[in-house]
């Protein structure tokens, strides 16, 4: 009883499984169900297509994870995605050459919106729910004020490559670029969260004061989380715009979908708990669920009802089921 266990890898594995377990189980069930429901899912191509479709939401989930785990909300990502696509179309206006500078500009815009969200949240002490709700309204209005009501211009082919096309890989077939990009971002996010900055971000979500008194730059880190979320929205916009072209509706409802995804992944609203892998698994789960419902021919109305039941059930299972789950594990 009076011994402290040495720091071994064993306990770390248990910790990871703790948050990730339920969502991974649900995901596995869904993937198997997909294989039974649709012939396309008997080969890698089907799953690659699923990943391609899920990539924007998963990338948004990474960004949203940073914000949620540090104790905030980002409701502005949906309208930011729309704004980015509309901006890209107007600036590129079909000119292939413009792609080169528009993409960095979009990333910078995402970062800037995140920076504003972050600065208002941390400096002016406005709850992020309100800041990003306000930002949602501002972006919604501003971008159409700028374009005069509906999208203008067109995206270039080069811009659309990442969201739309793929490259050939033996055995797997055509691997979408977006899946490759997703993989790179996943690795980057995991590495980031294992590092000191990532752990400090989680600690901020748990107890901001303790990090502040511990010498952490709380405001800067929380702002960073919003910036990363903004950048993730920019990347998601590049993928979505690439996938389906210009539209004034691309981002509609994304903010709630991505928060649902992150929570489905076991990340606790309010911060301090949850892993980035689980958040992404939550996003993939949600997309797999939509695909399955579609394959089963479940119609519109039922689809949202099923979604509603599932998110409640998943979160209920995670919070009510947590204690028995852990007891079993430790005995």
């Amino acid at each position: 009883m009076t011994e402290t266990l040495p720091a071994t890898g064993k306990t770390r594995r248990i910790r990871l499984a703790d948050g990730t377990g339920p969502v991974l189980a649900v995901l596995a069930v869904l993937l198997v169900a997909l294989a039974f429901a649709g012939p396309a899912y008997s080969e890698p191509a089907g799953y690659l297509a699923l990943l391609k479709r899920a990539a924007p939401l998963m990338i948004l989930a990474i960004g949203q994870y940073f914000v949620i785990v540090s104790g905030g909300f980002d409701l502005s990502v949906g309208s930011l995605v729309t704004a980015e696509v509309v901006i890209a179309a107007r600036l590129i206006d079909g000119d292939e050459g413009a792609t080169v500078w528009v993409i960095p500009l979009l990333l910078a815009t995402g970062a800037l919106v995140g920076l504003v969200n972050g600065l208002i949240t941390t400096r002016l002490l406005v709850p992020s729910f309100i800041v990003t709700l306000g930002m949602l309204l501002v972006l919604d209005g501003a971008v159409f004020l700028w374009t005069g009501g509906s999208p203008r211009g067109a995206l270039s082919e080069a811009f659309r490559v990442v969201g739309r096309e793929g490259f050939e890989v033996p055995l797997l077939g055509a691997v979408p670029w977006s899946v490759l990009l997703l993989a790179a971002l996943v690795v980057a996010a995991v590495v980031f969260m294992r590092g000191g900055t990532g752990r400090t971000l989680v600690a901020i979500g748990d107890n901001e004061t303790s990090v502040l008194l511990g010498g952490g730059r709380v405001e800067r880190l929380r702002t960073l989380a919003f910036v990363l979320s903004g950048v993730s929205a920019a990347i998601a916009a590049i993928l979505l715009g690439g996938f389906a072209g210009v539209s004034a509706q691309v981002g509609d409802g994304l903010e709630f979908r991505v928060i649902t995804a992150v929570v489905l992944g076991g990340v606790v609203l309010g911060g301090g708990r949850g892993s980035v892998v689980a958040a992404m698994a939550g996003a993939l789960t949600l997309e797999a669920l939509f695909s399955l419902l579609n394959l089963l021919g479940v119609a519109g109305g039922l689809e949202s009802a099923v979604q509603g039941v599932i998110i409640i059930a998943a979160v209920a299972y995670a919070s009510v089921g947590r204690i028995p789950f852990r007891t079993r594990r430790s005995t």
Partner: protein, 330 residues
């Protein structure tokens, strides 16, 4: 012995009383009305003529009703994202039950409110018993109601009798009767929150749920209660809208964005999103500010896109001001 531990000085306390968010909200409203009158006047119009007042008050009614309920929920530190769909659902239940028959008004109102209370009860139970975060729980309920509305309705349905439409249209001078009823409900909610034990417990749960529970408050019950009250308020908003529209309309709440807008109004009214501080009086001020802004913009012929930008900015700036004041007082 305890002379060293002086209580905070009196003047500061009095100042803080005066500068309470509620007072600030109404000051801002007055400023807005003055500025708006000037702007509209420059353009040759009158903001606060009979039509203007009527407009502001009519616009405030539905949002005000929802926001009263939302205030109680937010005071406990939760949120209700299901109100928008619930309003649509309630307008349909009301209008379909009435089906144009004046004799069915009372049963229809009761049935609607009972259904609304049922939804609130489900929200409350999911939050307290299944321990689902309120954001997710009410988002889930919203999706379920939406699913039902999508599959069961393809447009407005039901018909309210003319007698019931008077609720939406009757007025005394420039004051709509429905707005008076909304204010009466606000007064009732204010009394409940400020004067009764139940209201005290709402603030306690919002201040710190654990502390409230350790102090012997049935926190679950309080949370369920506010969700039921909020849903009933949304039900009233649905009935009011049904009386305005003459029928039930599935998307009437969603199109108006009453979920996020009611939260915005509550927060604009100085209630802390985290719960435990604020009140209905401020909320009504917040609702009036939003409606006044809308009316001023209409009179100025501003595009809806610009309105959104301003609404967003006003929301952020207002809450930033409250936060600043609170920081200064601490």
């Amino acid at each position: 012995m305890a002379t060293g531990t002086a209580v905070a000085p009196r003047p500061a306390q009095r100042l803080s009383r005066v500068l309470q968010p509620t007072v600030v909200v109404y000051l801002a409203l007055v400023l807005l009305l003055v500025a708006g009158s000037i702007l509209v006047g420059v353009r040759g119009g009158v903001l606060l003529d009979q039509g203007g007042i009527l407009n502001i008050l009519t616009r405030s009614t539905a949002l005000g009703l929802v926001a009263i309920g939302q205030t109680m929920v937010i005071l406990t530190g939760k949120l209700d994202l299901s109100v928008a769909y619930l309003i649509g659902l309630c307008s349909l239940i009301g209008a379909e039950t009435m089906a144009g028959d004046p004799g069915m008004i009372v049963p229809a109102v009761l049935l609607t409110l009972a259904c609304a209370a049922g939804v609130g009860l489900v929200n409350g139970l999911v939050i307290t018993k299944l321990k689902v975060n309120a954001f997710i729980a009410t988002l889930g309920t919203a999706l379920i109601i939406r699913g039902y509305l999508e599959s069961a309705y393809s447009g407005p349905a039901g018909e309210v009798p003319r007698a019931f439409q008077h609720l939406g249209y009757a007025r005394i001078g420039p004051i709509p009767v429905s707005a008076l009823l909304m204010v009466a409900l606000a007064a009732l909610a204010w009394w409940y929150l400020m004067r009764t034990k139940g209201g005290y417990h709402v603030y306690a749960v919002g201040g710190d749920e654990e502390v409230a529970r350790f102090s012997g408050i049935r926190t679950d019950r309080t949370i369920i209660k506010v969700h039921v009250l909020c849903a009933v308020a949304a039900g009233l908003a649905g009935l009011f809208l049904a009386s305005r529209l003459g029928s039930g309309a599935p998307w009437v709440g969603v199109d108006a964005g009453y979920d996020l807008e009611s939260i915005a109004a509550v927060v604009l009214g100085g209630t802390l999103l985290a719960g435990g501080r604020g009140g209905v009086a401020g909320t009504i001020g917040g609702v009036l500010i939003l409606a006044t802004l809308d009316t001023i913009f209409d009179d100025l012929g501003v595009t809806p896109f610009f309105k959104d930008v301003v609404r967003g900015a006003v929301l952020i700036v207002a809450v930033a001001l409250y936060a600043r004041r609170r920081g200064a007082l601490r």
